[in-house]
């Protein structure tokens, strides 16, 4: 079980441009952090680096005892969920089958997907093709895999942006439950999250 995330002296670059340098922060089990910064400051890039998709220019990212930064091949496999701008749902397939596939792929146990479907009230949406869902509905389907396959670290990129007020507070409750169970959340946001979280300022 991964119970901490340490980012130390991290620098990230895209092409020739340095996004930020010498960023340090740490997360322990049960804590959340929100990344704040202007558009293009590097919030998404930082999330992708923690997920292991991007090699940092300098510095270290450590999940528990394991270093992610230097070895993207290891990625953060099995320790983190990454929810980006895109929901990772194939537009021509029924939402229920996409969810079932994602949950199974992420290693969810039997019955876990059903519990997630209940928690996010996805029942009526499951038979519809993904392209017929609204952006908020798609986001809820994508969030379901986070609940179905429990993992210590959630990496969320603007998780609330397509959701309505009701679902923002509901997802906030689910995040609190995740933290209470010893999980960690790292989220890039513009609006504050409805949970207690330290703010990590990202600027060049």
């Amino acid at each position: 079980m991964i119970d901490s995330l340490h980012v130390s002296d991290l620098s990230l670059t895209r092409g020739d441009r340095t996004l930020f340098s010498r960023l340090s922060f740490a997360l322990e089990a049960g804590q959340a952090a929100v990344l704040v910064g202007a558009n293009g400051a590097g919030k998404t890039t930082l999330l992708r680096a923690v997920a292991g998709f991007i090699r940092p220019a300098a510095g270290q990212i450590r999940l528990g005892e394991r270093g992610v930064a230097r070895d993207p091949d290891e990625a953060s496999g099995g320790a983190a969920h990454f929810l980006g701008h895109q929901d990772g749902l194939r537009s021509g397939r029924p939402a229920g089958r996409e969810l079932a596939f994602q949950a199974a792929w992420a290693g969810a146990g039997p019955g876990a997907a059903e519990a997630a479907i209940d928690a996010l009230a996805l029942g009526p949406l499951l038979g519809l093709e993904v392209r017929k869902l609204s952006a908020g509905q798609r986001r809820r389907v994508a969030l379901a895999r986070l609940l179905a396959a429990p993992r210590p670290l959630w990496l969320l990129d603007e998780p609330m942006s397509p959701l309505d007020a009701h679902w923002r507070s509901r997802v906030g409750e689910l995040m609190s439950a995740h933290l209470a169970a010893g999980g960690m959340i790292l989220a890039a946001v513009h609006d504050p999250l409805p949970i207690a979280a330290q703010a990590v300022e990202i600027a060049a």
Partner: protein, 208 residues
């Protein structure tokens, strides 16, 4: 791995049939001339038709973010790529291989060549799928990726076309056809062994 199916096998098969129909119109109606080039042109058009569904192999997953999900898991990306290409071979390569003897025969190749054509097309399809997958992964994120795939991959399709058509010609001439088929199989197996490594590296590069 339902996502592995690249889909569109009917489209590729129809494309194959269309090119094969156009060929006699372009080459002239003389049956002797057609029969002489039948195995070779059946194979050439097979290579072209194999290109058709390659674009969808990774592009869809890349666009909707599913490739990130696939890359995030502890299952190695190499294995995911291999399964995808295997699915591509079954979904697109196998129907085309079934059509290959039909096309060759329709172009005037003797019926006795049908079995060897089927075998060669099946084995070559394995190479087409895995080498083509490398091209598809390399072209991720590029505009008009389909054309780029064709330019990357077609030169690499030369060996299977040579050995595949060669095996059929040799069989038809009563010579030993096994060396050519063995070379074809070697090409396919090498692609199966090395292709996934290159595909996974290209996918990670596209994601970073």
């Amino acid at each position: 791995m339902a996502w592995g199916g690249g889909g569109g096998p009917l489209l590729a098969a129809a494309f194959y049939a269309c090119i094969a129909t156009l060929l006699p119109l372009a080459a002239g109606p003389s049956p002797e001339r057609l029969a002489a080039v039948a195995p070779g042109s059946a194979f050439l058009t097979l290579a072209l038709a194999s290109l058709l569904s390659l674009e969808r192999l990774f592009e869809r997953d890349y666009e909707d973010g599913a490739l990130e999900l696939l890359a995030l898991e502890s299952a190695p990306l190499e294995a995911v790529c291999a399964v995808k290409c295997l699915a591509q071979w079954i979904a697109a390569g196998a129907p085309l291989a079934l059509l290959a003897p039909v096309v060759a025969t329709a172009l005037g190749a003797p019926l006795s060549l049908a079995w060897i054509t089927l075998a060669a097309a099946l084995v070559a399809g394995l190479g087409f799928a895995f080498v083509g997958g490398v091209g598809a992964a390399l072209s991720l994120g590029a505009r008009r990726g389909g054309l780029l795939i064709a330019v990357i991959v077609l030169p690499l399709f030369a060996p299977p076309v040579i050995f595949g058509a060669g095996a059929i010609e040799a069989f038809g001439a009563g010579l030993d056809w096994r060396p050519a088929l063995a070379f074809l199989a070697a090409y396919g197996l090498a692609a199966v062994a090395l292709g996934p490594l290159a595909m996974a590296a290209a996918c990670r590069n596209a994601l970073s």
